[in-house]
Symmetry: C2
Subunit: 254 residues, 2 copies
């Protein structure tokens, strides 16, 4: 039976997951949410090897079947496929916190979406720029509904999923299709003394945007009150670099 699979990396009890369900609840499709049993932010495409996973049924929410898994976000997708069959659509989110710039690489919510895409399933991740669980998603739901409905109606190009980010401010001025801003993370650890005289290090840091004024990037528009839609291709093979690498590394001309 065809169905929409929903997951995230904030866990089954995140308000953003319920907001995501609300946005697809009236499509007339079966909706199944399989989410981690606690926060799994920044788990990327990690999977659990070497121990068994458990899946637990929860009370339905707004017509959706709800399940919790003691694993990573991608574990949730793999276990859902195994238990309930191949979903027709995979939606991740709504994530509490941004997944713009290169955060797509670290995000567990985008891990869910990338997993769906690699299975050939039209898949979209939705993220809101605030980490607060008190975010009122009401003003963002029309855009989420519109994108989800378009994907359900028309699918996505083969090998491509979407990474949608929504701005702060309780309003969306519009939506633009762009690429991720290039940059990297800096100043990433706070240092603490430990009881035994040693040190420990806690990850923090900020994204250094290499192109803050470039209107082809997601961050540019998010900072100006727009939602960004970035098409993401999980196959990272740099086909255009094959000849150059072959010459440079192997002294070959292929």
């Amino acid at each position: 039976m065809s169905y929409i699979l929903i997951s995230n990396d904030d866990g089954y009890d995140a308000p953003g997951l319920r907001a995501m369900i609300d946005c697809v609840a009236r499509m007339g499709l079966r909706v199944v949410a399989v989410a981690p049993d606690g926060p799994r932010s920044a788990q990327s495409s990690a999977i659990t090897v070497g121990r068994a996973l458990h899946i637990r049924r929860l009370p339905d929410y707004n017509g959706a079947e709800m399940y919790a898994v003691d694993g990573t976000p991608v574990d949730c997708v793999k276990l859902a496929v195994d238990r309930f069959g191949r979903p027709d659509f995979v939606f991740g989110g709504i994530n509490h916190g941004p997944n713009d710039g290169n955060s797509v690489v670290y995000s567990g919510t985008m891990g869910v979406v990338i997993e769906g895409c690699m299975l050939g399933i039209p898949s979209v991740g939705f993220s809101h720029i605030s980490h607060s669980w008190d975010t009122d998603f009401t003003p963002y739901k029309p855009l989420v509904e519109r994108i989800a409905a378009a994907v359900v109606a028309q699918g996505l190009p083969e090998g491509v999923c979407l990474n949608v980010n929504m701005p702060e401010g309780g309003e969306v001025k519009g939506a633009v299709t762009v690429r991720a801003a290039k940059g990297y993370w800096v100043e990433e650890f706070d240092e603490y003394d430990t009881a035994d005289g040693g040190k420990e290090y806690k990850l923090t840091g900020r994204f250094h945007n290499l192109e803050p004024d470039n209107d082809e990037t997601d961050k540019y528009w998010l900072e100006r009150g727009y939602a960004s839609i970035v098409p993401v291709r999980p196959d990272m093979s740099a086909v255009d670099a094959i000849c150059a690498i072959s010459e440079r590394i192997l002294n070959n001309r292929q």
Copy 2:
């Protein structure tokens, strides 16, 4: 002070890590290995948030400084940058097990390499197709040394890192620069009964190669005794799909 950073996802005591160090030990550069304190396979680009990390100095190996971190492979890179400064080169491996096909998405060793690449550092991951810790890396070292030396001498194109896989058989017929084989994982869970009458699920499965006869792919050559070199671009933005997505999802023409 400039240095080569080495890490992996099999942990600091993996023979493959020592083999990797052996391959760069005679270059005249400082070598620092910062690796997880235990196995962290399939950790992808996961990072540790919400708890502190600890780094522990170990005895040197073959001229290399050795450290263990109680975190993910990418944590090791981030903490190395924080503690020792920006490395000039990042090498991952030698991984015990293949990272061909779409395994690059799940691999913690390739997580290390992708992290280095996103910091603008020439980075290469090396993997051997066998998971055995008894693998004799001797016949593979000339190729690893050659690729590492070429990258140290000439760098890599901006935004591109390398994913090198080596075949079984104790011999390498040659090396080819190709793209990753397209495919997905199937039959992924073994089901067990639990003591309380429930079920649990352990991840297994195999890669279904969609193009086994395509000589443009890594798996084709690995199965025939060759090493594969796949250029990898961590920026997954599908720039070529922006117009199509804008029209399809937003009814815009950009």
